[in-house]
């Protein structure tokens, strides 16, 4: 029927028969094959350097330094990098920076935890049952269209102006990306794996534990990366609107006194926090998704 049939039909003899003699063909011109690597076309990425990601930020700081040093950049517009460093050192010495940072980080962490939990549970409910999907998905899509800023007055009305409100605003922002990406990954689970689970006689719980959750983990972690960034963004909004502590408050206060250097330090702290927490999630991602073989791995 096909070429394989023929080989199989003669399986026994093909294996026991001596291999056909290899006859030398001296006339055949031999093509030299370059021994050095790299002559072939490679479409995948090469092995990543460990600190490669730092190149872009480094160039940015370099550019900024040159502009400040040569005087192209007015210090009233944007202070020089070394001024920012000086100010940061001062702020640390007086304890202002780390105190506010600790408060901010704690808020963001609580919001992230709450938001991730809610996002994950909602995604599971909506991804694994039709009814759940009908009830939950539309509401989440509606929420996606509402900006945090517009929500805050209501949050204040419902939760007051204390910590509960701040953490809630962060959680409400965080849960959306977690939900969207997890839900997406859940719905994309291969029907073949579902069939396999059926033929192996897995219970519903075993199916969720061994097939669904690991299958959706890449989505969840991607959502978490967006969620972490979202948590810092939400933090800025709540702290600058209504707070008496935290990095956002520090920045707002500095703005009132026109302390551009303090504002700048606040900005850099936000950026570093975002970068750091994203790196943390990527680390988790690398550990948890060891089984994948991808372009970047």
């Amino acid at each position: 029927m096909n070429s394989l049939t023929a080989i199989d039909a003669n399986a026994g003899s093909a294996l026991t028969a001596p291999p056909p003699a290899v006859t030398a063909r001296p006339e055949t011109p031999r093509r030299a094959i370059p021994s050095s690597a790299g002559s072939g076309r490679r479409l995948g990425l090469e092995k990543a350097s460990r600190f490669g990601w730092a190149l872009g930020p480094f160039l940015l700081v370099l550019y900024w330094s040159v502009l400040s040093y040569t005087g192209f950049l007015d210090p009233r517009t944007l202070p020089a990098p070394w001024v920012a460093v000086d100010t940061a050192v001062d702020l640390v010495r007086t304890g202002r920076l780390q105190d506010n940072l600790a408060i901010s980080a704690w808020r963001a962490f609580q919001g992230l935890l709450l938001g991730s939990g809610v996002g994950l549970v909602l995604a599971l409910l909506s991804g694994l049952s039709l009814l759940g999907g009908y009830v939950i998905d539309g509401v989440v899509q509606l929420k996606r269209g509402v900006p945090v800023l517009a929500l805050i007055p209501f949050m204040i009305l419902w939760f007051g102006i204390g910590e509960v409100m701040k953490v809630s605003v962060i959680a409400v922002t965080v849960f959306v990306p977690i939900y969207v990406h997890t839900h997406n990954a859940l719905r994309a689970i291969d029907i073949k794996q579902v069939e396999l689970a059926e033929t192996l006689g897995l219970t519903h719980l075993e199916f969720i534990r061994h097939v669904v959750l690991p299958g959706a983990l890449p989505g969840l972690l991607l959502g978490l990366r967006f969620g972490v960034t979202a948590s810092w963004l939400a933090l800025v909004v709540v702290e600058q609107l209504n707070a008496s502590s935290g990095i956002g408050y520090m920045v707002t206060l500095a703005r009132n006194y026109a302390q551009t250097d303090v504002m700048l330090v606040g900005l850099i702290v936000y950026a570093l926090l975002g970068l750091g927490s994203d790196a943390l999630v990527r680390l988790v991602q690398g550990r948890a998704l060891r089984w994948r073989r991808t372009l970047a791995a």
């Binding site: 029927m1 096909n2 070429s3 394989l4 049939t5 023929a6 080989i7 199989d8 039909a9 003669n10 399986a11 093909a14 294996l15 073949k192 794996q193 069939e195 396999l196 689970a197 059926e198 033929t199 192996l200 006689g201 897995l202 075993e206 061994h210 097939v211 690991p214 299958g215 983990l217 998704l289 060891r290 089984w291 994948r292 073989r293």
Partner: protein, 247 residues
């Protein structure tokens, strides 16, 4: 001997992979039946019905199958996020599950690869893991849907030998879906040919154990089967391809 599978008047309509049009079939304990047919003849549909995977399909008829059924698919269907041994023992109950899994892996000659990720294995090795996963459950019926269809010719030959050995030690009834005539003759006790959702022919293989007699019977059966599919084995398409495959 008693029938472990008994199918009466089984009909399936409008399924993705073909239709069934009143199938009657018995499979005895330990019997190896190959289901041969063109694509769309309904062979996968029948297998999926027996595996209880055709939830959406409409149809009548009845069938009885044993409790312990294992399925081997054309792709190995290993969960990529589980190491090999965890794939084998997935859903397996009992305190000695992992030990049994280890033994099953040793049986398919994969001892030592327990902790490998599926993507680190070759296609043939992955399919062997799938075999181990099926057999560790000691099935009374093994359903195999073109399990070697995606493997290269040499790997296939090794897999045939392996499957023959495993069959002796585990003794399940086997229903093998294939479109490979030689594979069917090589492995099966009985070959059932499906066409348009009906059983077209039911042929007992009766292959002598070895020697010239075996080769003769093999050739005779192959010619008969290929003729049924409108291919003559001595001339034409089949022959040309044979030469190419060997050359």
């Amino acid at each position: 001997m008693s029938a472990v599978v008994s199918i009466r008047g089984l009909t399936r309509r409008f399924t993705l992979k073909g239709i069934l049009n009143g199938i009657d079939l018995d499979i005895q304990e330990g019997e190896f039946v190959a289901l041969l047919g063109r694509s769309g003849s309904g062979k996968s549909t029948l297998l999926r019905a027996l595996a209880d995977l055709d939830h959406e399909a409409e149809g009548e008829g009845e069938y009885s199958v044993p409790d312990r059924i294992s399925v081997v698919f054309q792709d190995a269907r290993l969960l990529p996020w589980k190491p090999v041994l965890d794939n084998v023992v997935l859903g397996l109950r009992g305190p000695d599950a992992r030990e049994r899994g280890r033994r099953a892996l040793a049986e398919v000659e994969l001892a030592g690869r327990e902790e490998a990720w599926p993507h680190e294995l070759s296609g043939g090795e992955q399919q062997r893991v799938a075999l181990a996963r099926s057999l560790v459950r000691e099935p009374q019926l093994l359903l195999a849907d073109e399990p070697f269809g995606a493997l290269d010719a040499l790997t296939r030959i090794r897999m045939h030998a392996l499957l023959r050995r495993l069959r002796v030690s585990h003794d399940p009834a086997v229903l093998l879906v294939t479109h490979d005539v030689a594979e069917a003759i090589e492995l099966a006790d009985r070959i059932v040919i499906l066409e348009d959702g009906r059983i077209h022919r039911d042929i007992t293989v009766n292959l002598p154990a070895e020697g010239e007699a075996r080769r003769e019977r093999f050739a005779e059966l192959e010619e008969e089967l290929l003729a049924l599919f409108g291919v003559r084995s001595d001339t034409g398409v089949g022959h040309g391809e044979r030469e190419r495959a060997q050359g």
